[in-house]
């Protein structure tokens, strides 16, 4: 338990132009304490640090020393090297629900550190996803789930409506199912100038997209014993969806080298009709300085697969505290500050999805008051999606290693090097070896 001078102050926070629900704050006097931290870097993430670090230092007298600030994949490698060398000389690090289970027990169980009144301010399901083997190893920063952005004018065009109905036999409206996405993507495509849609095509990104489509089709990646079962009708159907779009040239030829920046910038370039993407891109897409589709964007919940479920691959960015941290109460205070109402409101204004229910209410109220219909639509859609559709990947240490054997086989099938059945059979065999080696069966 924390030492004596940890102070809990129940207050009502006022910041900016809104007032949020009562929040348990976690201040203390940490004069002379310096916390070494390793943080995820990049434009989308660093604004938070510029505001919260001075705020925390001013209120506690402590100091923050940023040891590392790099993208999450590089940070992941660095932390793995730190574990191997036993050199865990930092207190706080960025984390993610999909990565956390890899790191063993280097991070403290925050159930023993954070007062229950603080934890009560977060969405319970997200805290559950932040828990590994019964240990709460991270405080959630913001959550991610994807929904479908589209160019509104394409759906309002009378010729498009008539031609689509004549060709496919149903009305052209924003898609409700992934089969409709495929029809509409092929209909809108006019390569190389315009494509119906796109997808992230490599590494964990395409593996995650495949995973959520398998779930939406009524399948699963693993059974209860973690034996791979994605080589199934649902799996083949999911993979065939990627193949059909690629063969129809409804996605750019280079899509298998695309990651998140490529798809985001692609939609903003105005050459893509529909784009499944995260909430964090919304502000960028609707900014005329960055985007050619600003003012012409619609958004619907991620469509459904053949199993009647919506896709909803989800995860949360987070912060963790090392077990070796010598100033745990100061680190707890800093973790709270990084995920506090103030911090989450800063990120929500940039379009990121908060992990505190109070901030959902506050940001929606703020956007209503401002009359910002677009961002209001974004927050309402993502709130519903996170509440009803979101599911995490299997929270197991082998997740990233598993995606590394899966994605080359998905790519091989998309490029026509293998049939979908063969590709999934090979991936399934390799995945079985990984799970056997890890001792699941």
């Amino acid at each position: 338990m924390l030492r004596l001078f940890l102070s809990l102050i129940l207050t009502v926070s006022f910041f900016g132009s809104f007032s949020a629900k009562a929040e348990t704050e976690l201040w203390g006097d940490y004069s002379g304490v310096t916390l070494r931290v390793k943080l995820i870097g990049g434009g989308q993430y660093e604004g938070l640090y510029n505001e919260v670090i001075p705020w925390w230092e001013e209120n506690t007298g402590g100091k923050i020393e940023i040891v590392t600030q790099k993208n999450h994949f590089e940070l992941d490698k660095e932390i793995k090297k730190d574990i191997a060398s036993g050199n865990l000389d930092f207190c706080v690090a960025s984390n993610h629900t999909s990565f956390a289970s890899q790191y063993g027990n280097i991070y403290t169980d925050l159930n023993n550190i954070m007062p229950a009144s603080v934890l009560a301010d977060y969405t319970p399901l997200i805290l559950e996803h932040s828990t590994v083997d019964g240990r709460l190893v991270q405080m959630p920063r913001h959550s991610d789930v994807s929904n479908l952005y589209y160019q509104k004018s394409l759906y309002e065009d009378a010729d498009n409506k008539a031609n689509f109905k004549a060709k496919y036999g149903y009305d052209l409206t924003p898609p409700e199912t992934w089969d409709q996405v495929k029809d509409q993507a092929i209909f809108f495509s006019n390569p190389p100038d315009f494509y119906g849609t796109q997808y992230v095509g490599k590494e964990e990104a395409i593996a995650g997209r495949f995973y959520e489509l398998v779930i939406a089709n009524g399948g699963a990646l693993f059974d209860e014993d973690y034996r791979p079962i994605f080589n199934s009708a649902a799996g083949v159907e999911a993979l065939q969806w990627f193949i059909d779009l690629y063969n129809a040239k409804a996605v750019p030829d280079g899509v298998l080298n695309y990651l998140w920046d490529d798809t985001g910038l692609g939609f903003a370039s105005g050459t893509i009709a529909m784009n499944l993407d995260w909430a964090g891109w919304a502000g960028f897409f609707n900014d005329p300085e960055n985007s050619k589709v600003a003012g012409d964007i619609g958004l619907v919940r991620a469509p459904m697969g053949s199993g009647g479920l919506r896709t909803g691959w989800s995860g949360s960015h987070s912060f963790s505290m090392t077990e070796s941290c010598p100033d745990k109460e100061a680190a707890a205070s800093f973790l709270w500050a990084l995920t506090s109402n103030k911090a989450q409101m800063i990120e929500a204004r940039g379009g990121l999805s908060p992990t505190r229910p109070a901030i959902w209410d506050a940001i929606i109220a703020e956007k209503k008051a401002e009359g910002d219909e677009f961002m209001l639509m974004v927050f309402e859609t993502f709130k519903m999606s996170l509440a009803e559709d979101a599911f995490t990947p299997p929270l197991i240490p082998e997740w990233i290693e598993f995606t590394n054997v899966l994605y080359p086989e998905l790519q091989a099938a998309i490029l026509g090097d293998k049939s979908p059945e063969d590709a999934l059979a090979i991936a399934s065999k390799k995945a079985t070896e990984i799970m056997e080696d890890a001792g699941y069966f």
């Binding site: 490698k77 390569p191 190389p192 750019p252 590394n404 080359p408 790519q411």
Partner: protein, 295 residues
């Protein structure tokens, strides 16, 4: 003891200690890990000896051997093309009498870029949608975009183009140094005897230059693995492993999958490749020197 303290060993000790710490111990440690299931995230696995299990698995791993073969092909083609282009540039620069220093400096520009930056640049050049190459070709009526970084042959060629652009100047500089050191007398004598330019190049310039060629080849074959960053940036070894080289495979196995024991086993097998290349070039170097001294 006094004899030892006064002997040459004392003078060699600092070097031996540093080499042991910096080279020998890490090599022995990595060799040991290749006989363990060592995972970065599970430090305890460092002490679990599994014999040749990692090596046995690699022997039966077709993906590893395909990457191995592709790496050999990549090395052979890239190094030879770099040699040809570097020799051509060196010969041209050697001919000019005005502005040679400026050209030598300009020639070194690609070496000043970090491989990561080179990878970014060439990824952009070969991007199928917004890349310079496809937009350039479009001006000449090639409307359908060419998937430079997707098609197997094109993707490997694109990576090789980036690597050759980045490193040809190393060859050019070393060969230019060789050209500047060739004595003028035999060349002038050959010309007086009626040899044409090709005969002078083939029978005098090239034999004098061969030791420099093999020194350059040896150096480049050892540091060509720096191209890892270029490959990682441009394709990451994909799509569908079409551009997978040993370096991308080992890096992903060791740092992303955290299976450092397996990655080190891969490294030790691939070390034989480096040793084979280096041995071959040293053998050719000695041979070229001997031939030069006989002549």
């Amino acid at each position: 003891m006094r004899k030892f303290l006064n002997g040459p060993w004392v003078l060699l000790m600092p070097t031996l200690i540093i080499l042991t710490c910096v080279v020998l111990l890490p090599l022995l440690l990595s060799l040991w890990t290749s006989f363990t299931p060592f995972k970065l995230t599970k430090p305890d696995t460092l002490y679990r000896f599994v014999g040749f299990r990692n090596y046995e698995r690699l022997i039966g791993d077709i993906d590893f051997w395909i990457a191995f073969g592709r790496t050999v092909l990549f090395l052979a083609v890239a190094l030879n093309l770099e040699l040809v282009f570097g020799l051509g540039i060196a010969l041209l620069i050697n001919k000019i009498t005005y502005g040679q220093r400026t050209l030598r400096t300009l020639m070194m520009f690609p070496m000043m870029f970090s491989p990561i930056l080179v990878g970014f640049q060439w990824k952009y050049i070969f991007n199928d949608n917004i890349g310079l190459m496809n937009n350039f070709l479009r001006e000449f009526g090639v409307i359908q975009p060419i998937p430079w970084l997707v098609d197997g042959i094109l993707a490997n060629t694109s990576i090789m183009a980036a690597e050759i652009w980045s490193s040809t100047s190393v060859f050019a500089i070393l060969l230019l140094a060789g050209l500047l050191g060739i004595p003028k007398d035999p060349i002038e004598a050959a010309k007086v005897d009626g040899c044409n330019s090709w005969q002078v190049f083939k029978n005098i310039t090239l034999p004098f230059l061969m030791p420099f060629v093999f020194i350059a080849m040896t150096i480049r074959s050892l540091d060509v693995a720096r191209a890892y960053d270029i490959v990682q940036m441009m394709t990451g070894g994909g799509p569908a492993k079409r551009t997978e080289l040993l370096w991308t495979l080992i890096s992903r196995t060791g740092y992303v999958d955290a299976k450092m024991g397996m990655a080190n086993a891969m490294s030790y097998i691939s070390i034989f490749l480096s040793i084979a290349f280096t041995f071959f070039f040293f053998y050719k170097l000695v041979e070229a020197r001997q031939r030069l001294s006989y002549e």
